[in-house]
Symmetry: C2
Subunit: 393 residues, 2 copies
């Protein structure tokens, strides 16, 4: 509530009296991980205006929003998809699509929402307006046995009204055409040796990136090339000696940042970001950091990447990496155990969840001043409604 | 109305019955230039759901939207700023800020809207929630006479909660700090010889670009360098002979596209785009075109730039330039006298106004199919509400 008086002058407060929940465009949903709840924070009122409860297990839950800004969607680890009315913040329907969902995406034409499911493994596609299940695609390798469970993860929207996802146990990338009524799986691309565990798409919608367990490589697929196969990219620093027997820790793929012509990869278990070239995917250099990075998030304007850390000594800090110099420009102390970061769409503020301190922190990106700290119980993911208008989110 | 049945199934129509105007996120405002009116097109309903009238002279009018998506703002050539409620589409206040406004911008924190004014020359800054005029800055060169009129144009939002604008007769760029209560003009940067006529900001908010009348150069200002001066950039193709006595025709600066590491400049009066390097602003190459270009607009994903033309033989066509190969990939016939183009935010469709044919055309960008043609009287600018979330728009 810091700074509330400064934001809400008398006249503004009067006009907001008729809109007690705030307005659609300034809404930020924050996962309260331990209570199956989303807290709704209003950027202009600078307070939590509502809580949406009964959403199921929200471990690793992500949200997506319909293009018309009528609805938000959240898929839970208990397999329930819930639709939330963005005007009233009320439940607007729920569907049990599986017993365990891990990821969610919305088609670029706004008509379909798709969930990636661990068990039973598959993809469910629902009409965003009616919530009708229009297609369920069980995860089964082509010609392979379909009596074993194959988990699906990393589902994203892609140009041409496609969904792209990753099958873990069968090691495949699927491209699903959501512009045809039968939603065909039009491509099944093997990722080669190694088990995938997560995936992401670059913000331009051009490249799908898959992480592989127990390797130092990722797989990239150029989505613009309809005949292309998956390519391998190394994350190791050339010329450096590695202990080949040490376990390789796994970065969240969604934690990568793409800014201008660079890809920033937080290497879990190493005190550095790896920087790759966006066009060639070759290693450019490492950026030394104060601790082990978890998330790298680009700021609007693509001049800065904000990095969070694991470990009690480091996890209250954000290091801001300059995209031009590829060096740490400054270090901010924000709050204990930072879990997630997002930026307001024109970049004026960062929204940071500090899980151990049970708060959401609003940081002015021009001054680094903390302008608001809002109590939120065990916060993790932060999702502004502006994600409705960004590819891959 | 083409394709309406396909979009609006029975269940969707029922749920839309309570929202007859469509939903905020799918709203596109189209200037009806000859009738002082904005037509409101709904992307999902695929029809004009409302008209907002009495807005004043809308020649060259642009719109901006508040971050909370409560309001749209339009400034008219007759000097009137009108606020439109995005939920009800009703007038929500108007202010006569001058006798002739040319441009409008909204601060990155969403609190202020600013108009650039031709007469009396200056900048008016209003509170977005109360519509109160909080500051008017008359256009006067520092230490110069203030008894002559100086027109202001090209106002944009910039990082650090700044407004940047251009003073035509005094040849200056102004940077205004909208994070301080007195809105100081913190920088006045001379552009050097030549009279500016228009300006733009790159989508990353890093560079302000000013066009100069009767020269083959533009001026760029690096906004990240608080001490930097304006630099000159040539648009001429090196090694080519030009008739130095021929009049130089003036491209709209807002017509330039920035995609990946390239800047695409439609050279009015020449059958080519000039391609510049985004970092060095050096000439890269020309892209030959079928006619004289007017607008170049990048598609989301930054893989394509769509180009419109002047002249009856060419103005019904769009040429699509591939950003990688820097060649024309395809040519589409869309409708007579194309004035403006915009894309849905994830890039599934283009919205094109065909002024001579009195229609708005919805093009599927994956198939190039025309999916809807909507009658609009003398349409020009097209403004989707998603501009609320993009820097510089």
């Amino acid at each position: 509530m810091l700074g509330l008086l400064a934001v809400c002058g008398l006249a503004a407060c009067r006009s907001n009296a008729s809109v007690p929940l705030g307005s659609i465009g300034s809404r930020v949903f924050v996962v309260e991980r331990n209570s199956e709840t989303l807290a709704v924070y209003d950027l202009d009122l600078r307070r939590v205006v509502h809580r949406v409860s009964g959403l199921g297990n929200l471990q690793h839950a992500t949200m997506t929003f319909s293009r018309d800004l009528r609805y938000g969607f959240v898929a839970s680890r208990s397999g329930k998809l819930t639709r939330i009315d963005l005007a009233t913040l009320a439940h607007a329907g729920e569907v049990q699509t599986s017993k365990n969902s891990i990821d969610i995406a919305i088609s670029q034409d706004g008509r379909y929402v798709a969930t990636a499911e661990y068990f039973p493994g598959g993809v469910s596609i629902l009409d965003t307006q009616t919530l009708e299940l229009v297609r369920r695609i069980p995860a089964a390798a082509e010609g392979g046995p379909d009596d074993r469970n194959i988990r699906v993860t990393g589902i994203v929207d892609a140009p041409g009204n496609r969904f792209v996802c990753t099958l873990i146990e069968s090691g495949e990338i699927w491209v699903i055409d959501a512009s045809r009524p039968d939603f065909p799986v039009e491509r099944r691309v093997p990722v080669g040796p190694g088990e995938p565990y997560d995936a992401m798409i670059t913000p331009d919608g051009g490249t799908y990136v898959v992480g592989l367990r127990d390797t130092d490589e990722v797989v990239i697929l150029d989505l613009r090339d309809p005949e292309g196969s998956a390519q391998r990219v190394s994350l190791r620093e050339p010329g450096r000696t590695y202990d080949r027997t040490a376990p390789i820790k796994l970065p969240h793929l969604a934690a990568w940042a793409v800014a201008r012509n660079r890809v920033f990869v937080p290497l879990v278990g190493e005190q550095r970001l790896a920087v790759l070239d966006r066009d060639t995917w070759r290693f450019v250099r490492s950026v030394p950091l104060r601790g082990n990075p978890v998330y790298a998030v680009r700021a609007p304007g693509e001049r800065e990447v904000w990095v969070s850390f694991s470990g009690e000594e480091d996890d209250a800090f954000v290091q801001v990496v300059d995209v031009d110099s590829l060096e740490v420009a400054r270090t901010l102390r924000v709050g204990g155990r930072i879990y997630h970061m997002d930026f307001t769409p024109r970049g004026s503020h960062a929204l940071v969840t500090a899980n151990r301190d049970d708060k959401l922190v609003l940081v002015n990106t021009a001054t680094d001043a903390i302008e608001d700290e809002e109590p939120i119980r065990s916060p993790s993911g932060v999702f502004g409604v502006w994600r409705a208008f960004a590819m891959g989110l």
